[in-house]
């Protein structure tokens, strides 16, 4: 750019002035970095220092290089409107990561000088981003599912002042909760089952003027992006109407695990074996008649009831559900109390392996014990029902280690089967076939949202059919921006948790429409205005970006070029890392902006004994860990040159080959954990990076380089002590294999 004018500033505060020759650093910026204005300041982040920079900006500086603390510190002080700012981390990752000795002075100064060069190089290649032009401003929220989760989300959003469309598949609101006799208590003293209150809630939804309810309807087509979704709502009779919404809450709930798959427990063989839903139906029917519950097979009085926990759940054999559904222990206690209410002399036994009582369930558990519900730690093997309708439960008593324990003359057996999420089509090719739930296969053919996204019609799933959500940091987020799943479709849960989940999802939906309206990114780069663009003439239509985008943001246009749908984008740059022809870039982050930093480093010759190691560190976890290592006084090798990246997924292979070609002795990458227990903020970024890097061996072979020249590491934000150790280990390794032969070319 012709009118580019760089201002480079070096701070002398926080010990920088004592440890570094700041004058020399400004000269580096001036001579090598081609900065037009260079200044030192004794306390750059104070009002005076900031005013000094602002004055230069007013006089024409449009790229600012700040040699001071980490970009994670003083972000507000150093934010200047419409000006691209490059932060040079001289404090945490130079002077604090190096020993404060006279001997270390030379290497520390070299490190600082390199970082100044890198900062100036970056400043030349970046621009202050402007909001994306494709953003939509629709502020309505669509809620799919009219159960407790959906109704709560709708009410929360409406009461916050947002119009809501509520789509329910059946003819009435209420969902699974409407099928319950009573619910697990959610108020002090957590002692007795409470009324569900579902009618009142449904009435509140019906009365709320901001909510439009569509009964007997499904979402048959969903396209667009946050702020400009277009949704076809089709009724049972086939009438379709198209509505525009800004964000979507998917609360499609769960289906109870099919107890017919548990013939060993007598289900289907006798009416006296029911699942938890079946018992609720019995209790409701009896309550409607004002009568006590009776034995379903012959209407006799019930004297003994046995609850079988984990029926078809937590199954290690792979036949049934592998997971715990969380609510069932509390639910069985609640149901046992139905009988204790009816007649305290009815024997109620709950056979469990591990009693799990989330929420205030511990009080509820005590209350059940007080009422005389008997808890037996054991594993049920089988249930036989004789011709007169009396059941015998065979189980392994785990406390008394009696493998042949039995409960005889049981009138009713209740199976605690689990929750199967209604998450629609599994769009990912399952990685491990054993994780695919057999039970889900049939239901999976029906999509919930019918998205027109190139990657598939529903939100991606993590495990067992539950939708993917970053449950450490961003539990409500899915991998589809602006679409939030809540309730048991996200993870197994009870009513109280679903209400909380729904509230969270409603707030996230509101955040999404607001962000989308301003053209800003949603989490984790919340507020980021940059967005990916591509050089059309360079694109080979290989489709890697559309396939690899963890958020399904990229579709194809009519001419088969990528179409970015900026509002769906989370700005991780995975597409940029994927692109083999390097045509994808952001205004403030590109292949060139990082590449030129790599090239800006001064690489000493082979005989200097000063290797150069490039470290590409994920800015979410690894880079903060490096900063905090410095803060904590953990020193590490002075030969490292760190560049923060948005995600390891954005690392383009060209950076690695460029670095090795220009004489770096090694390249390290630090990203988040991937796999099922992933911690990657962009879900798939670190996984993709590790996949791509698994192919680097060929490249290294072609260059005739050792395998250890490139190392990919998983680190977490808390690895403050480990990170410098990893650096030092790698520096020692490089020392061992020797200097790169590519220096000086």
């Amino acid at each position: 750019m012709a009118d580019m004018k760089i201002g480079a500033y070096v701070c002398q505060g926080c010990g920088l002035g004592e440890r570094l020759d700041t004058k020399a650093l400004t000269l580096v910026a001036q001579k090598e970095g081609k900065a037009h204005v260079v200044r030192e300041h004794e306390f750059l982040c104070n009002g005076q220092g900031v005013a000094m920079i602002q004055k230069d900006i007013d006089e024409g500086v449009n790229r600012v290089v700040i040699g001071a603390c980490s970009r994670r510190a003083k972000a507000e002080a150093f934010s200047f409107e419409n000006v691209a700012v490059a932060r040079v981390n001289l404090r945490e990752q130079v002077i604090w990561s190096q020993p404060a000795t006279e001997e270390a002075r030379e290497l520390t100064q070299e490190m600082a000088a390199d970082y100044m060069r890198m900062g100036c190089a970056e400043a030349k290649k970046v621009q202050a981003p402007i909001p994306n032009p494709e953003h939509g401003t629709n502020r309505r929220v669509l809620v799919v599912g009219g159960g407790i989760t959906g109704m709560t989300a709708a009410l929360e959003a409406a009461r916050a002042g947002y119009d809501v469309l509520l789509v329910e598949k059946t003819g009435a609101l209420g969902g699974f909760m409407a099928k319950l006799h009573k619910r697990i208590p959610y108020r002090e003293p957590f002692a007795d089952p409470q009324a569900t209150g579902v009618e009142a809630l449904a009435a509140a939804v019906a009365q709320e003027s901001r909510i439009t309810v569509f009964l007997n309807s499904t979402t048959t087509r969903t396209s667009g992006a946050p702020g400009r979704f277009s949704v076809d709502i089709t009724t049972e009779s086939g009438q379709t109407q198209t509505e525009n919404v800004g964000a979507i809450v998917m609360a499609s709930g769960f289906t109870p695990y099919d107890a017919a798959k548990l013939p060993e427990f007598g289900y289907g063989k006798s009416q006296n074996v029911v699942d938890q839903a079946g018992l609720e139906a019995l209790a409701r029917a009896a309550a409607a008649k004002g009568e006590p519950m009776r034995r379903p097979s012959d209407g006799k009085d019930i004297k003994s009831v046995v609850f079988v926990q984990c029926a078809g759940q937590r199954d290690a054999t792979g036949t049934h559900l592998k997971y715990c559904s969380g609510h069932c222990c509390n639910t069985s206690m609640k149901q046992a109390m139905y009988f204790k209410e009816q007649n305290p002399d009815i024997d109620t036994a709950i056979i469990y392996t591990d009693l799990r009582t989330p929420g205030n369930g511990e009080d509820f558990y005590r209350s059940a014990q007080r009422k005389g519900v008997i808890f037996t730690k054991g594993k049920v093997a089988s249930v036989d029902v004789n011709s007169s309708g009396a059941a015998t439960v065979h189980f392994h008593d785990l406390i008394l280690d009696d493998k042949a324990a039995t409960m005889k003359d049981v009138d009713l057996v209740v199976l605690a089967t689990g929750q199967v999420p209604n998450s629609g089509v599994n769009i990912d090719i399952p990685a491990g076939a054993e994780d695919v739930d057999v039970a889900k296969a049939a239901e999976q053919s029906v999509s919930v949202l019918n998205l027109t996204y190139r990657q598939g019609p529903d939100v991606p799933q993590l495990r067992y059919g539950f939708t993917d959500s970053h449950f450490i940091c961003f539990p409500y987020e899915t991998r589809r921006t602006g679409i939030y799943t809540a309730g048991p479709v996200r993870r197994p849960m009870d009513i109280a948790q679903a209400v909380e989940d729904a509230t969270g999802a409603a707030l996230k939906a509101i955040q999404a429409v607001e962000n989308a309206g301003l053209g800003r990114a949603a989490h984790p780069r919340s507020g980021d205005l940059s967005y990916p663009t591509f050089r059309r003439e360079g694109c080979t239509q290989c489709k890697r970006c559309t396939v690899e985008c963890p958020f399904g943001a990229i579709d194809e246009d009519e001419q088969r070029y990528p179409q970015f749908n900026e509002s769906r984008c989370r700005r991780c740059g995975t597409c940029m890392g994927a692109c083999p022809v390097r045509v994808i870039s952001f205004e403030n982050y590109s292949v060139d902006s990082v590449g030129s930093q790599i090239k800006a480093v001064d690489v000493p010759d082979e005989f200097s004994e000063k290797p150069r190691i490039l470290l590409l560190a994920c800015e979410n976890d690894a880079y903060p860990a490096l900063d905090m290592a410095g803060v904590s006084g953990h020193t590490s090798s002075a030969f490292i040159r760190t560049i923060p990246v948005r995600c390891l997924g954005s690392v383009n292979m060209i950076w690695i080959t460029d670095a090795l070609n220009s004489g770096y002795d090694g390249v390290m990458m630090m990203g988040c954990r991937h796999g099922d227990e992933y911690q990657c903020h962009f879900v798939k970024g670190s996984e993709l990076a590790s996949y791509r890097m698994s192919k680097i061996d060929d490249t290294l072979k072609n260059l005739n380089l050792e395998k250890d020249r490139v190392r990919l590491l998983e680190v977490a934000i808390a690895d403050i002590k480990r990170v410098p150790e990893l650096i030092n280990d790698y520096a020692a390794k490089i020392q061992e294999i020797g200097m790169s032969p590519f220096k000086g070319f």
């Binding site: 005590r366 037996t376 008593d397 008394l400 039995t406």
Partner: protein, 207 residues
Amino acid sequence: MGDINTAMTEQYRNDFLKEVEANVEEGQWVKMCMQCGVCSGSCPLGPAWEHPPQEIFMMIRAGRRDEVLKSESMWMCTSCYNCIVRCPRELPITHIMHGLANYAHRLGLAPKMNPTRRFAKMFWKNLTKSGRVNEIQLSVGLYFMDGFKTGVARAWAMKDIGLGMLKTGRLNPLGFVNHKGCKDKNGIHKMLKKAREIEDRRKGFAA
């Protein structure tokens, strides 16, 4: 005592639990056990118990009446109160153990030769006779519980302690014959008789 002794209990029915709740001191707490096993792990004599408290509680719920009442286990309790202190459900485990032992004894189901039981009986007799414990009679009785020969051996083994106590005036050998009971011996006997009557009536023991 006959009827209650032959009461039929079905496995894993609440009959025995209800019996324990009605008749055993602090028995109403048994249902509150959550089977964490902290009591069993805390008991200093734990490894010596055939059925640690956690298991006893489960056996009660499982209706294993005979096994529980004939067990030596609860007689092992030394009242150190570790389990009570540690029980997250605040069950008075020590008291329940003593309550069970007492109940088993009253039913005549407790193991006859259990040393704790025998000593307890001896202590009770000694105490209630005069309303005050005669220590020397009690210790001699304890030594000679299993016959003359073992009695002599036990007394011999304790002789140094005995002599020491004698020297410091802690042991009065004359007490063996010259025991001072409490003033109103008959009053105490009456009181105990009445208490026994009330207990028997409440717990359904035949008089």
